[in-house]
Amino acid sequence: MHASDIATTLPIVDRHTPALKAAGLIAAADAGGLIVANSQGEPVGVVASVDILRLLLPNYLRDDMSLAAVVDEKGSEEMWTTAANRTLGELIDDDAVRMPDLVAVDADATIVEIAAQMADARVRVVLVRGPRGTAPRFVTLPAVMDAIVRFATQSGAGA
């Protein structure tokens, strides 16, 4: 089994994507992160879901978490409306946020190669290199785990 066999397409966002749209994509796909593209539309990095959650919160609550407890239910609901004005660009420019570069593997990379790359870079998704002009495809951590479990079960290790 190779990278091309388990590769899939994923939603791609850029610095102009509204924070709420990014949140919707994560909620719909139960994703651990989103692929970020540069101004040419090429995938360049991965932004973690929890960092997008940070983007939805007012900055002052991130500076002082204890303030979150003093806001009542109505006030809490009103806070999300301010998140509508924010874009992923703010997150990408935030020095406190680590956006790892996208790790790329060849289409014929084996599962071991992909697993080693993911473990080394501590990422949940890798880009599968493909011909220029084609839609980018990715291998996700669950797909790799699934492949490993299937191999192990077939060879009797998981029995």
Binding site: Y60, L61, D63, D64, L67, A69, D72, G75
Partner: protein, 429 residues
């Protein structure tokens, strides 16, 4: 003038330029400057580490360390947030009343805690309150910076320049409180009036938004009531230790360290959390700075300058106080007041030693000028830079000139008012 003195002055001057322009991190500048002083033979290990006159002032370093640990634990209690929200609710959402209460809270806290910690804790809760009120937080943040710099002037531990002055002069916590707190209290009253004149048109009362402030529950801010009680008890003991200096004969640095140790013991927090709020960079910056200034002392430069200034001053100590007050305010507005006071303290010490009791008020002129001068520009003090960063991150950028136009007014008024205070209290008659 020997080549060694020329080189030492060049290193010192270049370091000042780099610190003032912020082209290079100030800690790097201080360490490289200290290293170069060693290379040119202006200091050595014995002088740098063990000399009271020309080495690292460990009393300053350990007083800062002890207070940083105590404040780091105290800030985890939620007390500051509680006070600010409580004040906003007591003010019933009226913006200027809230502003006055935040000025008082910030100034009082700054007198006992370091200014940066105070504004770091007050700024987020101010943003929340203004968000609930639907008003711009910019006037509130600006007055908090200024209240912090004014309030910090009142005590020995309120502002790092005062800690340096105390260590070099031998003046006690009570000396600072007796000589600076009265004028600071007066300046705060005047500052409230200035705040009204400067910002009244920007403060809008919106009755519909008031209920959103009243709905905030300040009690929820107190995360750990046990820790709050312990922290306040230890802080009280530490302050008592400072006040009773003449009876217990413990330097403020030891009192702060003993307090920090006791609080760590009682708080039972992870060490990682306790030390997370210690500004190690600041402590290293101080160490590098002391070595650089100490090198000038070793080479006799400070002594020569001291003699020259002493001769020039003669017995006109009021004239010297005027120059020190206004000169310090101008310098502190342009460069960080810490290196300025670290350089001026040995010089002032020479003047005071030569003049005796009549020259003692020069310390207060230096403290008032350096501390209040920090309000003059957006880069005049660390608290200014920190709050402007918070404001920008929260979508309310305050430009250099937006701050400085108010800063110059407040500094001009507060420093000018300090002059008649110095005259009437120490020189009249």
């Amino acid at each position: 003038m020997t080549i060694q003195i020329v080189l030492a002055l060049a290193v010192f001057g270049a370091a000042y330029v780099f610190i003032a322009t912020e082209k290079v991190n100030r800690v790097t500048v201080a360490l490289v400057g200290a290293a170069l002083m060693v290379v040119i033979g202006a200091t050595d290990d014995k002088e740098a580490f063990f000399s009271e006159e020309s080495g690292i002032d460990w009393n300053v370093i350990f007083l800062l360390l002890g207070m940083m640990i105590i404040v780091g634990i105290l800030q985890q209690t939620g007390m500051f947030e509680f006070l600010a929200i409580w004040a906003a609710k007591r003010a019933k959402g009226r913006p200027f009343v809230i502003m006055v209460m935040l000025i008082v809270i910030t100034a009082v806290l700054s007198a006992f805690l370091d200014n940066v910690t105070t504004v770091l804790l007050i700024a987020p809760v101010t943003l929340l309150i203004c968000d609930r009120l639907g008003t711009s937080p910019i006037p509130f943040l600006i007055v908090e910076i200024m209240a912090s710099n004014i309030g910090g002037t009142a005590t020995l531990i309120g502002d790092p320049p005062n800690i340096i002055i105390a260590s070099r002069s031998g003046l006690t916590f009570n000396d600072f409180a007796a000589n600076l707190a009265p004028i600071v209290a007066l300046l705060l009253v005047v500052f409230v009036g200035l705040a009204w004149l400067m910002f009244r048109k920007q403060l809008h009362y919106n009755p519909e938004r008031v209920e959103r402030v009243m709905a905030l529950n300040e009690k929820e801010a107190i995360r750990n009531p046990r820790l709050l009680v312990i922290s306040l008890v230890v802080l009280t003991l530490v302050l008592a230790g400072f006040i009773l200096h003449s009876a217990i004969h413990l330097e403020p640095s030891l009192v702060a360290l003993l307090g920090a140790g006791l609080l760590m013991l009682l708080a039972r927090l992870e060490l990682r959390k306790v030390f997370a709020d210690v500004e190690w960079e600041t402590l290293v910056f101080f160490a590098g700075l002391f070595i650089m200034v100490g090198s000038l002392v070793n080479l006799g430069i400070i002594g020569f300058l001291g003699e020259t200034v002493t001769e020039a001053v003669g017995d006109n100590y009021f004239g010297a106080a005027v120059v020190l007050l206004f000169g310090s305010a101008v310098f502190s507005g342009i460069i960080d007041n810490i290196p300025y006071v670290a350089t001026m303290a040995p010089l002032t010490n020479d003047l005071v030693n030569a003049g005796g009791a009549a020259a003692q008020p020069l310390w207060w002129a230096l403290a008032l000028g350096a501390d209040l001068g920090g309000n003059a520009t957006a880069i005049g003090a660390s608290a200014n830079v920190v709050v402007l960063g918070i404001a920008k991150r929260n979508g309310h950028p305050i430009s250099f000139w937006q701050f400085t136009k108010y800063g110059l007014i407040v500094t001009g008024v507060t420093v000018t008012l300090s002059l008649p205070y110095l005259y009437l209290r120490y020189f009249a008659g």
